[in-house]
């Protein structure tokens, strides 16, 4: 295959997948509105966002199941736009797995090999190898419906990777599994991606899953990219109030930038002035939010007075909901909780919290 | 049997069940007559009902075969009069289902036309079991506007002029009789044809098939085919002739000199009917052969009864319509009989149709 013949050097210097100014509308609904994205070779990238954010539409356009509205898709420097799905060097693990019910597990895995340059007598052996990779060789002669969800998931994975795609797409692959199985599969997926040295593009609405798997997370909202970066960056340095809220459920206290100060900005909020680090490029007078995660807020003898409204036991600690200045804060609290209605004082370390944009 | 017949059978069965016990509880003598719907219209029977203390229940049949099947299946107990075809009476007598007609109680039988008095059909050992009741002919009916000359039976076997525009009734008995008449086989041999004669019949019937537009099964259907011009000439029953003439189509009716197929239905009394019910049954038979009923049947049918009881009460036109004006027409009739090898006839007919 022409793509496979590209030099290793070429692969390294150029992103594997480039998405340029991609749009897609269904009638008057704009599902994807101007996406630019690059995927590095051998990376694990997650598209993260709530349902309806356009992440699945984006994935389906890359896979070739939806026609693109406008824009360009490049894989290894080759335009994908007009290539039908069956001619793209890309494979997909579908949300429903989409295993062929009339074929055995082995036949499912071998399906794609008949369209690759694989000698006929090697096809079954290659399929068995792929099944071995996902520890499913014992089930080769079963029918898909005879397998558990996790087993089907592995077969779907084997069916895709056996074709050695340049890019593997995973559409909410773990959403049908129970929590425990999901955790196990997360580890297996990450492990598999490392072992095979393949590039995975994974769609999910589950931020925990995104953190567990990704080299890079792309947070999407309303058909646009809200922020992309390494998981640590996204978590500790959210660009917008939306990201801060969606990832880790930070409480966002609106305010106005007074000016640069120290390592960050001085910000005026309903709960006073603070000097806090934040996203680059905020100008004086700009509206911004102070993002406070539950573990960054503590109860103390000093600080802002707040009224406790709820207390939820979480095992390791309690999650308190408190209201101060009309704003709801979540506080992780280790000790015995104050009773609802009680007034407490909230404090935080200004160096550990973060200022984000109000909107993208 | 088609679906409508089935339905009729079922309804008739239901009627039997429903009315059976009811009429017996009545003070008047109740009798049940199994017959064709067009023979038992209320106004035809009103004078009889008015003059007698008899309550009459009617159950209608869809085909002759259905009537026979019902009686054989044990229906004879509840029925007091049936209406089999003259050629079918043999089936009933062979199955020992009938009792002989007591002519002493049917004075109107004296007025039977000679041909009905003399026919050997409907009789066993000189006893009459099915008394001829009403009759008619099945002629050739044709579109006079679309044919050059009056046809005879040969139109179904010779020449190309009307290829694909002819129709034949889908009925083995009559179909084979017509072929035999065309071949000149006399009536005396017709129903006992040997293998050689049957082979000849089969040969000409195959020729006939190639000339047909279709075989017809219902007279209403044939009437439509005449009206649309799909068929210009058919071995038919009489009704389309009058019906389409009334609609302004120039129809013709031919009674071939080689022979005209006559049909006749009889009235018969099942075995086991006795006492007051038997008296009532014979009273009805006598009425059906008498002038009141005959006149109404001639006008309303139009059909001829088997006696001359009503003939003088009819106008020339009415007489002509039911073929009793010139009685010599009866001489050219070939009455339908039940051939002893009827199974072979049916097989032959199917072989021709399937060829």
């Amino acid at each position: 295959m022409a793509v496979a013949a590209k030099t290793a050097a070429g692969r390294r210097t150029r992103p594997l997948l480039e998405v340029i100014a991609l749009h897609k509308s269904y009638g008057s609904v704009q599902a994807v509105r101007g996406i630019d994205l690059s995927l590095a070779n051998e990376s694990y990238v997650t598209l993260l966002g709530p349902s309806g954010c356009g992440k699945t539409t984006l994935l389906r356009m890359v896979g070739g199941f939806e026609a693109i509205g406008s824009g360009t898709l490049m894989l290894d420097g080759m335009r994908l736009d007009d290539l039908p799905a069956n001619r793209r060097p890309i494979n997909t693990v579908f949300q429903s797995y989409a295993l062929f019910p009339h074929l055995s597990v082995l036949e499912n895995v071998a399906f794609g090999l008949s369209y690759r340059a694989v000698p006929k007598d090697r096809i079954k052996a290659r399929a068995r190898e792929a099944l071995a990779t996902v520890r499913m060789e014992a089930m080769a002669d079963r029918r898909p419906r005879q397998l558990s969800g996790g087993q089907q998931q592995r077969v779907a994975l084997a069916r895709a990777i056996v074709n050695e795609p340049r890019l593997l797409l995973l559409d909410e692959p773990l959403s049908a599994l129970d929590r425990r199985m999901r955790k196990d599969m997360q580890i297996e997926l990450k492990d598999l991606q490392r072992r095979l040295g393949m590039t995975f593009l994974h769609v999910t609405h589950d931020q925990e899953e995104a953190f567990a798997l990704s080299d890079r997370i792309v947070v999407m909202r309303d058909g646009r990219i809200e922020q992309q970066g390494a998981p640590g960056d996204i978590y500790t340095r959210p660009a917008t109030a939306y990201v801060a809220d969606f990832i880790g459920g930070a409480s966002c206290l609106p305010g106005r930038i007074l000016g640069p100060a120290g390592k960050g900005y001085a910000i005026e909020t309903a709960l006073g002035r603070h000097v806090v680090p934040g996203v680059a490029g905020l100008s004086v007078g700009a509206r911004a939010v102070l993002c406070l995660r539950s573990e960054q807020v503590a109860l103390g003898d000093t600080g802002t007075p707040a009224e406790v409204t709820h207390a939820v036991y979480r095992g390791a600690d309690w999650l308190l909901e408190c209201v101060a200045g009309g704003q709801l804060f979540q506080v992780a609290h280790a000790g015995p909780p104050p009773a609802p209605g009680e007034t407490v004082r909230l404090s935080f370390d200004p160096d550990r919290v973060w200022i984000a944009r109000e909107a993208a | 049997m088609n679906r409508r017949d089935l339905l009729k059978t079922a309804l008739a069965g239901t009627a039997l069940g429903a009315f059976g016990p009811a009429f017996r509880a009545d003070a008047a003598t109740g009798i049940l007559w199994m017959t064709w719907e067009n023979l038992a219209k209320d106004d035809y029977l009103a004078p009889f009902i008015a003059a007698n203390d008899i309550s009459l229940t009617k159950t209608f049949i869809g085909t002759d075969d259905e009537q026979f099947a019902k009686l054989r299946a044990g229906g004879a107990d509840s029925v007091d009069l049936i209406t089999p075809g003259l050629d079918k009476v043999e089936y009933y007598t062979a199955s020992d289902l009938l009792q002989p007609i007591d002519f002493a109680r049917v004075p109107n039988a004296a007025k039977l036309y000679d041909t009905f008095k003399q026919t050997p059909l409907g009789k066993v050992d000189g006893q009459t079991y099915g008394i001829p009741f009403y009759w008619g002919i099945n002629p050739i009916v044709y579109r006079a506007d679309l044919m050059e000359a009056e046809p005879d039976w040969s139109v179904f076997f010779e020449g190309d002029a009307y290829n694909g525009k002819l129709a034949m009734r889908d009925y083995a008995l009559e179909g084979i009789m017509i072929a035999a008449m065309y071949l000149g086989i006399p009536e005396s041999e017709m129903f006992t044809m040997d293998d050689r004669q049957l082979a000849e019949v089969k040969k000409v019937l195959k020729i006939q098939k190639s000339k047909l537009r279709t075989y017809w099964n219902s007279i209403g259907d044939l009437t439509n085919l005449f009206a649309t011009g799909e068929v210009v000439c058919a071995f038919s029953w009489v009704p389309p002739y009058y019906e389409l003439r009334a609609k302004g189509i120039d129809m013709g009716m031919a009674k071939p000199k080689e022979g005209v197929i006559g049909w006749c239905d009889t009235i018969a009394v099942p075995k086991g009917v006795e006492g007051a019910r038997l008296d009532a049954a014979f009273a009805l038979v006598d009425y059906l052969l008498g002038p009141d009923y005959g006149k109404m049947l001639a006008v309303g049918g139009p059909y001829a009864q088997s006696t001359s009881a009503a003939r003088d009460l009819l106008s020339d036109e009415q007489q002509d319509k039911i073929f009793v004006k010139d009685l010599s027409v009866m001489d050219s009739f070939v009455w339908k009989q039940n051939p002893p090898r009827y199974g072979d006839w049916v097989a032959l007919w199917n072989e021709v149709k399937a060829s």
């Binding site: 019910p101 794609g112 369209y115 | 075969d65 799909e230 049916v346």
Partner: protein, 285 residues
């Protein structure tokens, strides 16, 4: 008594009624098929004479073969027409689906006689098609072969029974997940392979079920051939009818009926096996 066995007992009257209504007449026919008849007397000495007669008779063999040939032909035609129609209904009709399904069934609400006469009006020598063709100058004289011919019979049979094929296939297409086709494309299969390797095997149960329904109904339909087939409209069913009614040869009629039934049961057995195999796949039993 456990609830389950109570249920079994409660079902007994239904089973008994079904047995009496469906099986008993068939059993009687079966017994008759070994008897013989002399005029109106049925002889109860069992023999295989009737079956031998069927075997030896070119007419009955031919009629039986013709019936099954027609059944196969019409099943095949309705499959070819019904397949894209069912696909469209299930996958593309969208909001119009209910309306289109209703429209599809409308012909079934009219009587079969009504439909047959409608075909007469269309196909007759003076019918709509012939008149239009003459008016257009395409032909000089009406095409006689349009009506009262095997062509007319098969057009009407196809029309009559197409809905049953479409319904069978439609159900199969409804349960055909588009993701399977996307997966096949994803794995490199071009359009025709997606059809051959995925769509066709997964809709096969519908095809077989629809085909069997059409097949059986065509084999049993004597009215359409009789009223539209013209001089060649004879069917094995009308021959059986003749034997029972006109000829009073119930034994031979029963034997032909049972021969038909046996062949039909074989076809059903084969079809059911095929469906079970493909639904084994679907159900994973």
């Amino acid at each position: 008594m456990r609830p389950q066995s109570a249920g079994n007992w409660l079902a007994l009257p239904v089973v008994a009624a079904l047995g009496a209504l469906c099986l008993a007449p068939l059993a009687i026919l079966f017994a008759y098929s070994f008897f013989s008849v002399d005029f109106v007397t049925i002889s109860h000495d069992p023999s295989l004479k009737n079956y031998a007669r069927i075997l030896q008779s070119e007419t009955y063999r031919g009629l039986i073969a013709r019936a099954f040939g027609s059944g196969l032909l019409v099943a095949a035609i309705t499959a070819v027409i019904g397949y894209p129609v069912a696909w469209f209904l299930a996958k593309r009709a969208g909001a119009a689906k209910t309306m289109l399904l209703t429209l599809l069934l409308v012909p079934l609400y009219s009587g079969d006689l009504l439909r047959i006469f409608a075909w007469r009006v269309l196909l007759g020598a003076e019918g709509a098609i012939n008149r239009s063709l003459i008016w257009l100058g395409a032909i000089d004289a009406p095409l006689q072969g349009l009506l009262f011919s095997p062509l007319a019979t098969h057009i009407a049979l196809t029309y009559n029974y197409l809905p049953f094929m479409v319904i069978g296939l439609w159900l199969a297409f409804e349960s055909l997940d588009d993701a399977w086709l996307e997966a096949a494309a994803d794995l490199g299969a071009p359009g025709r392979d997606r059809f051959r390797r995925v769509t066709l095997p997964l809709t096969a149960p519908g095809l077989i079920a629809g085909g069997l329904m059409v097949f059986v109904m065509v084999v049993g339909d004597y009215l359409t051939p009789q009223l539209l087939g013209g001089a060649s409209g004879v069917t094995v069913i009308s021959a059986i009818n003749d034997l029972f009614g006109t000829a009073f040869d119930w034994p031979l009629g029963s034997a032909i009926a049972w021969t038909m039934l046996a062949i039909l049961m074989l076809c059903f057995g084969a079809g059911a096996t095929l469906i079970r195999r493909s639904s084994l796949v679907a159900e994973g039993a």
